[in-house]
């Protein structure tokens, strides 16, 4: 067996180690699905209970920002996928640049998100005592949607922030030559995480921004 500095003592070989990491990561993502699932479930219940109120809120959502953010995240998923590929074939320089690109796109997403939150704050669409809604007859039910909007996008944004932290770690590790074509598991795993966060947004975007937009 070739000496493998990254093989932990309790594994027999690198294959077993990678298989464990991949399986572990996917189980973690299954956990994440259920974590977001509780909010998707609440969303489903209230949307079917108050379809008009929910439709009316979509007029106060910044669809341009949402769509732009969708595009940004899809781009970052591409760069992340390419980063994993670069790691796979041992292209250190490409790996670092693709990770930096992913990181930048992640920050752009958070910036746009922050701008949207600020908009909501100015418009008194943050649930709580100062909440105010233009269409009074929907005020109470619209507040529930905005509650879910902030809960869902907020938890998503926290995941993004964690992702940004992880990317920075990866960039540092990559620049210290920690990865090789033989061992790049962290890039692979954090890639999975990043794509997952992208998928959550792929569902949040139509649910929160587009539903009932024609009405």
């Amino acid at each position: 067996m070739i000496a493998q500095p990254e093989l932990k003592h309790h594994f027999d070989d690198a294959g077993q180690q990678l298989e464990s990491s991949t399986l572990g990561m996917w189980i973690f993502l299954a956990t994440e699905i259920m974590f977001f699932g509780g909010m998707f479930c609440s969303y489903t219940i209230y949307r079917s209970a108050f379809p008009e109120a929910f439709a009316s809120t979509s007029h106060f959502m910044n669809v341009t920002a949402g769509a732009l953010n969708t595009g940004v995240l899809i781009c970052s998923s591409l760069t992340m996928a390419l980063a994993v590929r670069a790691a796979q074939i041992g292209q250190k320089k490409a790996l670092i640049w693709l990770l930096i690109l992913t990181l930048t796109l992640g920050c752009v997403f958070l910036g746009i998100k922050g701008m949207e939150y600020h908009e909501k704050w100015v418009e008194h669409h943050v649930p709580g005592p100062s909440f105010h809604y233009e269409e009074a007859q929907y005020a109470q039910n619209a507040e529930i949607l905005f509650f879910l909007y902030f809960a869902m996008t907020g938890v998503h944004a926290v995941h993004m922030i964690v992702g940004v932290g992880l990317l920075i770690t990866l960039i540092i590790m990559a620049s210290r030559n920690r990865f090789s074509a033989a061992w790049y598991t962290p890039v692979d795993m954090i890639g999975l995480y990043w794509h997952f966060v992208d998928i959550v947004w792929i569902f949040l975007f139509p649910l929160l921004y587009l539903i009932g937009h024609t009405k």
Partner: protein
């Protein structure tokens, strides 16, 4: 290998000394001990609250007043459920034994294993600080809108504690699943696994898929309380029944997180002390998985009187009966395992007998609660309390104590005093039944749960229950004392004091070295090969 030789051998306990070697260890066995000590501490904290409750109920007018009592049962529930029952067997015995049983050197993610203990302690400290700062009075179920709007106790702090502890449970489950999938030693096929491992695998599935839903539910509840806006309080336009759906989506399967590891332990005890292979191995193995999966489809039986649609209730009731079948299969198979066995009455086996008896009663009374018309009458009464204490305390805690005694020599390298242990097992059994059996009657008579004061006609049965609780309390203290003593002063254990089968007894030294085995183990025979067939 002779015992004298083993005594001087390096093992996981004497490999290293000093507090750092414990607090920064990644050895699953040391982490299991960290869990063992912290869980025992929480057990006695939760137990102290139970003592307070039973004292209060000595008089129909209550001794401590309403607010105090409400806090007592809430803290008892939160501590016992989230900080004792859920982690108990998996995090201690499971953590210690699963890698050894499958012939691995450690869990797949040792650092995550340590992290999960720190998370558990973090959650525990928050929950305890909620107690110190005055307590919580929502009941462990945190029902909205009471918890989100009306209670003015430290709900957020306690909820945050539970939220955080949940991640510890998720990480433990994740670690187990991966370990069991990828770390089995050569020859250890799925159907050669000890049933202990199967039980923990099923448990881990629930931990991984159920716990995040609890976390998000509590998160939404906390947000509603903080913002005074939200989704569960009807005065804010929300639906409180939705909270119950989301809460029980985790908390019913959580009941199986608590009992499946207990069942897992019982398999090992019955097989060893009957010297028989478990009757119907594959049925017992798959019944664990069946319980884990079906257990996710029955939560609505907590909502029969809560305003849930009658048709949904009907479906949930039906599946609740269905989930009783795999539990029944287990009990029947354990009984059949004893047939033509060679049965000894060592302490762990006494606990196994206790488990079968009490779990049978707990399980059968579960059928009463699945029957909708009966549930309407007895839900939220002492019938429910008695039922789940028969399962949780009569089942789970009996199995836990049985397991602790069985593997005590393995963990410590020493033997416990058998006579004291038998005596304690008897006291616990008697005390338990005296405490909880009267509560079935109280429940059918109509005494609601969470009552600080009660009608006079319930007095006699409550006094009986409190009397039983004092016996039970002493019963739990005795093992605490002699096991602590035996840890230092007990006679040195031989390699395999029970002549048990399994890698942990046959191939790993007692106590095991840091990497569990001296030679990498290879498995060539099925589990429980007591008859030594080839």
């Amino acid at each position: 290998m002779s015992t004298t030789l083993l005594a001087v051998q390096k093992n996981y306990l004497n490999a290293d000394y000093g507090w750092k070697s414990w607090l920064f260890t990644t050895d699953h066995k040391r982490i299991a001990l960290l869990y063992l000590f912290s869980i025992t501490a929480f057990f006695f904290v939760g137990g102290a609250f139970a003592v307070g409750m039973r004292l209060n109920l000595l008089s129909p007018n209550g001794l401590f007043g309403h607010d105090t009592y409400n806090k007592l049962f809430t803290m008892h529930g939160i501590i016992m459920v989230f900080f004792f029952l859920v982690p108990s067997i998996p995090a201690t015995l499971g953590n210690f034994l699963i890698p050894i049983m499958i012939g691995a050197r450690d869990l797949a993610f040792p650092r995550i294993n340590l992290l999960s203990w720190y998370i558990y302690i973090g959650g525990g400290i928050l929950a305890l600080s909620a107690i110190v700062r005055g307590g919580v009075d929502t009941g462990w179920t945190f029902y909205a809108p009471f918890s989100s709007t009306y209670s003015n106790t430290h709900v957020i702090l306690a909820a945050l504690g539970v939220f955080i502890a949940g991640f510890s449970s998720i990480l433990t489950g994740l670690n187990f699943i991966v370990t069991i999938h990828t770390m089995r030693c050569p020859g250890m096929t799925w159907f050669r696994l000890p049933l202990f491992v199967w039980g923990h695998y099923a448990t881990a599935i629930i931990q991984v898929l159920g716990t995040p839903v609890l976390a998000i539910t509590i998160f939404l509840l906390g947000l509603e309380r903080l913002l005074r806006a939200g989704i569960f309080d009807p005065s804010l336009g929300g639906d409180p029944v939705l909270f119950q759906h989301l809460f029980w989506f985790y908390s019913h399967p959580a009941v199986y997180i608590m009992i499946l590891p207990g069942m897992a332990v019982i398999n090992e005890l019955i097989a060893c002390f009957s010297r028989k292979a478990i009757f119907g191995y594959s049925f017992v193995a798959f019944s664990s998985v069946a319980i884990a999966v079906l257990g996710f489809l029955v939560w609505g039986h907590h909502l029969f009187v809560a305003g849930q649609s009658m048709y949904a209730s009907m479906v949930f009731s039906f599946i609740s009966f269905l989930v009783a079948v795999p539990s029944a299969i287990k009990v029947f198979n354990w009984t059949a395992t004893m047939y033509q066995g060679s049965i000894s009455y060592d302490t762990p086996m006494l606990y196994a007998f206790g488990f079968i008896g009490l779990f049978t009663i707990g399980g059968l009374t579960g059928l009463f609660l699945a029957t909708m018309a009966i549930d309407v009458h007895v839900t939220d009464t002492y019938f429910v309390i008695a039922h789940f204490h028969y399962v949780m305390v009569g089942g789970m805690v009996m199995a836990y104590l049985g397991g602790i005694h069985f593997w005590f020599p393995k963990i410590t390298g020493r033997l416990y005093p058998e006579a004291w242990a038998k005596f304690a097992a008897l006291i616990i059994f008697v005390g338990f039944n005296l405490t909880f059996f009267p509560q079935f009657i109280l429940g059918y008579l109509g005494m609601p749960r969470r009552y600080a004061t009660y009608a006079d006609e319930f007095h006699t049965l409550n006094v009986m229950s409190t009397a039983g609780a004092s016996i039970l309390g002493i019963g739990y203290l005795i093992p605490m004392i002699y096991l602590t003593w035996a840890w230092r002063h007990g006679p040195i254990s031989p390699q395999n004091p029970w002549h048990a089968k399994g890698l942990e007894w046959e191939q790993a030294p007692t106590p095991p070295p840091t990497f569990n085995f001296i030679e990498p183990p290879v498995v060539t025979e099925p589990a429980y090969n007591y008859a030594e067939e080839s």
